[in-house]
Amino acid sequence: MAQMIEVIPRRESSAPTFIRRWLKAIWQTLSPVLMGMLILAGLWQVAAWISGGTLPTPLATASTLRDLLSDPFYDNGPNDKGIGIQLMASLGRVFTGWGIGIAIAIPLGMLLGSSATLRKMLAPVIEILRPVSPLAWYPLGLAVLHNAPKAVVFAIVITSLWPTLVNTTMGVQNIPADLKAVSKVFRFSRWRYITKVLLPAAFPAILTGMRLSMGIAWMVIVAGEMLAGGTGLGFFVWDSWNALSLERVMSAILVIGITGLALDRLFSLIGQRMAAWQEGGH
């Protein structure tokens, strides 16, 4: 059963050819992405023309973004901080809210996934609360917590926990019947079952849930900070819009989007690593 794979090396291997190939490979990877970006910029330019100058052009936005990024961490008092500081503030809130959310969602999801009765009990409650907007939760959070930053975090927690909850439930519910049977036949203790069967089996679903939750948390932060004021990218958007500075709004959108993308990629990467690990790759 030894796998002897005959690898046929490509013919040439002289240095310049190798570098050329390498550059070509990079180009082949990047050029579709660049093409995509160009298409986006083109559409945007058209939209700017249609708007008759209200919507800033990609170039104008790029210049604003460059200015914003040239000194991202300046701090001129509480109402005038660099975009880097705003980003940090938002990230802090997003991670806090998301972290609390998953800390609630994963154990609760494990319970729900294991008990059909619990699922029946809580499904309607979950389905009713899930579509509620962060903007509706904020005033309630404020009423209970008496603290605006906590209320923002509360709004993030309660709008972002659902995907993790639903996915954990699903992941636990869908653990293959024969793995459950194995743990019964071999008399696994509750703890052994949770650590060796339940969690690893549900892990991909949980990770996907966490990733979706992060997406929502990141989407909610703007709304939350807009309502609560103070700091963060959300407030930056709000403030820039108040000043009708759409280049700054666009810049903030790009920063939000790219950060969101980076977070998402991080999760993908973790997921791939875990999958590779499960298959014994690394």
């Binding site: 024969d178 049977a181 019964k184 036949v185 071999f186 008399r187 696994f188 203790s189 014994g280």
Partner: protein
């Protein structure tokens, strides 16, 4: 290939009618599943007594309830009617005494070959020391010829190697009865053949696991391995159609058996029995 620990001296022969305490006693067992307002009957009037030391096969058309009966013996599925006694006691829950090997291996894919076996050993062999458990794990894996693969993940193994791990895991908990649900069904004919040999080797080499109950679709496999073959009628609402005794001496040699008249008679009988 795998070292025989306790060579079985007397070959397993057919039923010993008057043997005092049967290992498993199934009386008037039936199984219904709820459906709409009523219930669907899957199995009814199952009577079967299995003696310690027997190798029993279940054969029958798809959906007749072979897996259901095996799962009831395992304690994974409840019985609807009748009684099922293992070693004189009613079967209430799964137990390592009746270890199971599933068609799709049921290994934990995130654990290595070693860990897959070790977790079961660690969970069941509570009276052993840690060193003993480790030794046992390595020993059973050696007996299925996987010593060089113990750090691999199941995904890195072929189907046959995976099923060897599952069989090793089952033997490692020293069950009194080994239950196998189409253990070789997903393997190609060639791998299948060598695993049949290995199963026989393990079974006859281990005095602790004397009794085997196996579900199969393959007539040749059933004849080659079994002391008795339990033939099911067609489902749903199936029962036992007949129990055929395989009167061939052990150890059996496949190549020569295939030309023996007993073999051919059994084969023809089973084919006819299953075809109508």
């Amino acid at each position: 290939m795998a070292p025989r620990l306790l060579p079985r001296t007397t070959p397993n022969t057919a039923i010993l009618p008057m043997e005092p305490a049967p290992l498993l006693e199934i009386s008037s067992v039936g199984k219904n599943y709820p459906s709409g307002q009523g219930q669907i009957n899957i199995l009814h009037d199952i009577d079967l007594t299995i003696q310690s030391g027997e190798f029993i096969s279940f054969i029958g058309h798809s959906g007749c309830g072979k897996s259901t009966l095996l799962n009831m013996i395992a304690g994974l599925t409840s019985i609807s009617t009748g009684t099922m006694l293992f070693d004189g006691k009613s079967i209430a829950a799964p137990s390592p005494e009746r270890a199971m090997v599933f068609q799709h291996y049921s290994l934990l894919p995130w654990l290595s070959v070693y860990q897959n076996v070790y977790e079961a050993v660690d969970s069941v062999q509570t009276e052993m020391s840690k060193a003993e458990r480790k030794a046992l794990t390595n020993d059973v894996l050696a007996r299925v010829g996987l010593s060089n693969h113990i750090h691999k993940k199941p995904m890195q193994l072929s189907g046959g190697m995976r099923q060897r791990v599952a069989i090793a895991r089952a033997f490692a908990v020293h069950p009194r009865m080994l239950l196998l649900d189409e253990p070789f069904g997903a393997l190609d004919a060639l791998t299948r053949g060598s695993l049949q040999e290995e199963l026989l080797g393990l079974w006859s080499g281990d005095a602790r696991t004397e009794t085997v109950v196996m579900v199969t679709h393959d007539i040749d496999e059933a004849i080659y391995l079994s002391d008795r073959i339990v033939v099911f009628s067609d489902g749903p609402g199936a029962t036992i159609k007949e129990v055929i005794t395989v009167d061939l001496p052990r150890p059996r040699d496949k190549q020569s058996l295939m030309n023996s008249p007993t073999w051919n008679n059994l084969r023809t009988h089973l084919l006819l029995s299953l075809h109508c």
